[in-house]
């Protein structure tokens, strides 16, 4: 119970820190959305017009910082995230709603795939240490994990899309595609997701291999595994049920965090592939000085990470009795 209270405290504290960072950043910045909008105006701007624009965009006028902070927090929790300046007059909520599923689909699935793949390779590598698989795959993936995302993406586009014409150069689906619940549209979406997914897998799998392999090796040295071997259990059973299961425990939190970070998208991959997800939207918000959208995305990302970590903490408590004893 104490453990649970502690985690909840951490959750609240971190959320508060994030909200406050969000509140402070735009207020120390020069310019505002109305200024940006002026750049698009061609006529003379009277102070009245400028004021009307600022009002229409909900640009904060000078007000008491404390009351602004209270309003800000209240709006956040009632879902009043305001209007996006980039997508004006769309609300921030509808903009986030439109980009979120793309990121969940692409980055979510590839994160799970990378984890599963990395964990499997890690387990197998540790089981047959020094074997063919172990001396080949982990080092290769360790090196590819150090590749810059965008560079891998650029080369992949050049090779598979431009030279070989196998896959599209970008986008989440073909512009002409009729969006409907059909197999052909689903195929189109998958066809467009393949290349970005591949680049993420190439760079993201290595980390999981390394941690899983290390955990597995230490676990394999434990007494109960030796005991299981002595009892003559099948290697398969020892590998997955005994050692693998315990070796996974320590990196569950890491997995939870990366699941949370799914929401932040793979900014660079989405950028290179013009993939209409959260990362791309965040970049748009940043480039257009769209503070409402930026704040909402940042809040959403942190919230998702925290919730994922909180859930995984609870799961760990259920799975691993030792944590219940810890202070």
């Amino acid at each position: 119970m104490k453990y649970f209270r502690q985690r909840l405290g951490f959750f609240v504290m971190t959320l508060w820190a994030c909200i406050t960072i969000n509140f402070v950043l735009p207020r120390v910045m020069p310019g505002n959305a109305a200024i940006d909008m002026m750049a698009r105006f061609k006529g003379e701007i009277s102070p009245a017009t400028y004021h009307a624009m600022a009002l229409a965009l909900g640009v904060q006028t000078r007000q008491n910082l404390v009351s602004a902070y209270v309003h800000y927090v209240a709006d956040l929790f009632t879902g009043h995230l305001g209007v996006s300046a980039t997508f004006f007059p769309r609300s921030v909520v509808s903009v986030v709603g439109a980009s979120l599923p793309w990121t969940l689909g692409l980055v979510g699935i590839t994160t799970v795939l990378a984890y599963v793949l990395g964990t499997l390779i890690g387990i197998l590598g540790a089981w047959r240490r020094g074997g063919k698989l172990d001396s080949l795959l982990p080092p290769i993936f360790i090196i590819t994990s150090a590749f810059p995302y965008f560079f891998t993406a650029l080369l992949a586009i050049l090779l598979f899309a431009i030279k070989l014409h196998w896959l599209p150069t970008g986008f989440g689906y073909s512009p002409e595609a009729k969006i409907a619940m059909t197999w052909s549209f689903a195929g189109d979406v998958l066809y467009h997701a393949f290349l970005p997914a591949l680049t993420i897998l190439i760079t993201a799998t290595g980390g999981w291999i390394l941690t899983m392999r290390n955990n597995m090796i230490t676990t394999l040295a434990d007494d109960y595994v030796t005991m299981a071997r002595a009892k003559g259990l099948s290697p398969r059973r020892i590998m997955f049920d005994y050692a693998g299961r315990n070796a996974i425990l320590p990196n569950l939190t890491g997995f939870a965090m990366s699941l949370g970070f799914v929401v932040s998208g793979a900014v660079l991959v989405e950028y290179v592939f013009s993939y209409p997800g959260i990362g791309y939207t965040l970049l748009l918000a940043v480039q257009n000085g769209d503070y409402n959208l930026m704040q909402a995305l940042f809040f959403l990302i942190t919230l998702c990470v925290l919730v994922a970590v909180l859930v995984m903490d609870l799961v760990t408590v259920l799975v691993d009795p030792r944590t219940r004893e810890q202070g």
Binding site: F88, P89, G172, E176, Y271, S274, L284
Partner: protein, 559 residues
Amino acid sequence: MWKRVLVTVGLSLGLVATTCWPVSSEASILKPSASFVPSANTNALTIDDEGGSLWNCSFNPINPTQSAGPEFGFIYEPLIMVNPLQNGKTTPWLATSYAWSNGNKTLTFTIRKGVDWSDGSPFTAADVVFTFQLLKRYPAADANAVWTVLQSVSQQGDNVVMNFKAPSVPYFYYIADQVPILPEHIWSKISNPLTYVDAQPVGTGPMVIGQCTPQNIMYTANKNYWQPGLPKVQVLNFPAFLSNSSANTYLQTGQANWGGQFIPNIKVFYTSKSPYYHYWYTSDRNVYLFINLTAPQLNDVQVRRAMAYAINRGQVSLVGEGGYEQPSNQAGIVTPSFTSWLDTPLLSTYNYTYNVSRAESILEADGYKKGSDGIFAKDGKQLSFSVINQGGDSDWVASLQVIAQDLQAAGIGLTIDEMSNSAYDNDLFKGEYQLAYGELGYGPAPYYELRSLLYSKESAPIGQVASGNYERYSNPSTDALLNEYATTTNPGTQHSIIDSIEKVMLSDVPSIPMTESALWFQYDDQYWTGWPTPSDPYMDPDPGHAPFHEVVLLNLRPR
């Protein structure tokens, strides 16, 4: 099994993504208004223009954040089309004719009959009056500030009569060409036109919305269009790109046919890939090195003149802009679009060609002496400045690197301050800079840009937001010239006024025009012909320029 899971997840996610978007339920994009689905690319046209954003799928043309969105022209139309490439040549559009009267204080439009809105209701002069009254009520929607000069707008049968507070001839362009006419029967019911999400716009234009997602706008032909037999283009796709590079690749691979952004090494990258690929770059405005005239040393005209001589504009054009933008002249008249306005003898009298020794001698005559570091100084103050720039525009970053080297060679120090767009706009508009690289408001004659650059009422005190005249130039005789221009429709008088203003540009050097900002335009004529060319510049060909792109679209014919 994995495959099936993936398909299901992908499918449902894609569907959620796209259904989330339109807020109003009746405007669900799952039921496109036109049931046209293209089977082949041959009756479709795809635009390739990097806008740096995803689509918001709101086609509200008076939305204050984008004064000319893509819907203006394709869907909502102006009264008269004005061609900036042919000295403001007019083509009747929703108005069949116009006339100035009452000492150029009254403008009367005769409204076209037999035009229907895309929902079948008839278009009338009342819609025009309604639109202008709406702009009066919502100043934030009046992007061209037409109500700063308008007195009243009223209907007289098929005519719309506009009265002005003072003669305002140049405002004809803003009123006739830059205001999208809205249907009264729809917009009169909207409580806040500024924030209205116009997901299924009803216009008089040749296209309607077929399907919109953040990633693509698919326009389909308006079966009710008033120009018989047009448009030939049945489907028009306009995908959204964030980066130049992804847009360029899309164009290069033939997925799009009408391009409108900078392509580096275009001969290798684009035109070499197909005999049908072409490009043509012309211009209707300048890129400037703005000079803050309130800054110490920069308020000295000799320093500004020295800078104009010290910079090799040809090299800026060649290295910074890859040779695609021509070097500007100090008179500020863009060629070839406005060549007839250029006072060539005057220009050669001042002869602002690249000349380092001339720059140095001007500074020496002004009392400056070169220090041991090669930088000029007077009274212990070094001739060294910083220039602000939008760090995201790589051509301008490269141009400034050339400019910095040139100035350095002539003994003037320059540090480049690359900024985010917001910070840059903030400093530029408020006059909190020394030098700045950028552009101004412009129009179908040199007057518009020169007014934006020099008119004192465009400016504002340091620290306050200015809509133009960022360098804070103030000269009563120049103001008087600009005011006089607004009172006359006589081309002879207009030309002599612009000649006088060119002299101001040459003698006062209020800012330095650097290159002639290109109208980017690439096209693929394998399926569609009838594109604008240097010999037939019937309209500004940049697909991102509303409402001009409508005229280009209507001129296209299948091969």
